[in-house]
Symmetry: C2
Amino acid sequence: MTTDARRPIPPERYLDRLRACREEVAARGFAALLIGVGPDLRYLTGFVGEPMERITLLVVPSEGPVSFVVPRLEATKAGATPVAASGAARVVPFGESDDASALVARLVASAGSGAAGSEAAGSEAPIGLSDRLWAMHVLQMQAALPGRRFASASTIMRDLREVKDADEVRLLALAAAAADRTIDAISAGPLVGRTEADVSREIRRRLIDEGHDLADFAIVGSGPNGASPHHDASERVIGPGEPIVLDIGGTLAGYLSDTTRTIWVSGPNGIVPEPEFVSVYDLVREAQAQATAAVRPGVAAEDVDAIARAVIAASGYGDFFTHRVGHGIGLEVHEDPYMVAGNATVLRPGMAFSVEPGIYLSGRWGVRLENIVMCVRDGAKVLNHSSLDLRVVRG
Amino acid sequence: MTTDARRPIPPERYLDRLRACREEVAARGFAALLIGVGPDLRYLTGFVGEPMERITLLVVPSEGPVSFVVPRLEATKAGATPVAASGAARVVPFGESDDASALVARLVASAGSGAAGSEAAGSEAPIGLSDRLWAMHVLQMQAALPGRRFASASTIMRDLREVKDADEVRLLALAAAAADRTIDAISAGPLVGRTEADVSREIRRRLIDEGHDLADFAIVGSGPNGASPHHDASERVIGPGEPIVLDIGGTLAGYLSDTTRTIWVSGPNGIVPEPEFVSVYDLVREAQAQATAAVRPGVAAEDVDAIARAVIAASGYGDFFTHRVGHGIGLEVHEDPYMVAGNATVLRPGMAFSVEPGIYLSGRWGVRLENIVMCVRDGAKVLNHSSLDLRVVRG
């Protein structure tokens, strides 16, 4: 059911985005962008799908018409997108035996030729490829456009996408709340005696039940498995007297949730956490709190990382915090801006990203806490609201 | 829960696959293959994951050690794969601020140099890229290895993957059975008065409940929406007296299901299908039956397509069967071999693919029926068993 809160991005927004994109293609001297199925295409057109062996490409030239090259059997669907329905892009379908890359090459070449008065177009100007375009299609396009230079389209797409508008924030908040409810339900148990995979399956079900369209990931890292930050979920049976890292997320109307809580399973005999676990937990929580408190417009992304790192390093656990403190989130679970050493990107209001410090003790356990945080005019707004207190689960 | 039937691919199989791959890299004159996260990597190593901005690459050179280049936080997980645990590949981790493409370039260059006695290696030999490697990583690798030639790794990977072994067949059959049960449950209703999106959500839940790890797609095309072959699911409310195309699939232990049934919703007043719908349904069913009956070793993939097409064309609906009749299936929902005009690939025992003719009448409705079919020694084995009789749903 579509409630008002989960209403999709309004159609006219896509026209604004495509217009802004075209301006940047010309301004930055690209001949054209080739945007394959994925988050960039969804952002620009509203087209939802999975990449496949049949290529689908939005061709955004520096001048001339925008073409939406699609397999014929996707033509109806492409034609229904706001940009096609309004005439801002024309649908160019191809058949099952047609050479789609030759078709795209002709569109790009015609965009580049006869471009009197445009310094952007021309055979020297690079062709921008969306980050997630498959290698099979990159190689096809490079073969079809020999001698042309190819570059990342993300120099343009990143700037467009990393500041969220009010509708995007609304959907991110809705997804975050759905993930929070899932964390709360799982933390109520039962957990002892179940495999990680079984708990992971329950999480995926609940992510959907709580309103996600897709359950993208449900990491369950019990005991020593929690020490591998990207452990998924195994056949290991959860026992009493050990922690579990739960890192979960899904997609709601295109927008991602991503939250992590580390809980303690005491079991029916109430095995209390070892003192080092409790102190590490408190340290990670403090690092997260300080990094979050530092978020405000004008701060560099790398500084958010550095603040969390300094808190953890000061207690001697610096070597065990093995990853960046966060990543942007929106139509992708990981996107710009990244909160990582070396990223001088300055935070702007509307940027959304994770703040997720962690400490991993190999062979023992790990602790990670993750919230999605927005940069807002006067500081930070945290989208997740599930408790950060250490939860102790008996069953 | 892992029952015996859903036990994973045995660890030693990955070593056999990697060995076979290496032999082909040398035999076909590649310098190396670069295999990113995705089905090729899962096939060769057992590594399960999603591609992300941090590159993960299995570097399979024509000679010298196989390297598994991974972000440091994936090192534990990569080290646990059968190929790494056995020493057949060495894990090469990199840190959050390291230049991973430079690291990979050094590995490729050292594989190519000092290759006395190997005609395969050397700076003229192409570097093979897995089909799904992201453009951002392709561009990074091309920048890090200037002047080198890049080609598709699929010339090798396709031959390895398109013939399934007994364990793969077992998992494909299990996934097909889970999808069949989901179709049966949905076809029992209720459907009238619900949105397509709501039904789609129920399908995704049931796909998981029936044993899938992921619910990948749940197309619900009611009435005119069924005439768009790749329609997803909309807010359209299902009414009495119209057909619905249900095209659903998920992932079970890595292997995909994909089945389509078209059902008729009569509603409580029992609105019977219009005669043309019934005759089109029977025609699609007959086309599927004849194409399936033609499957046997030695037959060309394009002939399977042609047979279904001839049946439909003979009744005057040829222009409305707008897509190939099928696609291979395994670790990907669409993979080689494709049953399409122009594909002379000869069927071999162990190949698995869809047979899914369809007829689409724009503005009215569509009919598609899809089974997964195996080529076996003496003909075809159909993995889906849900009924092909036209189901009429009252509620």
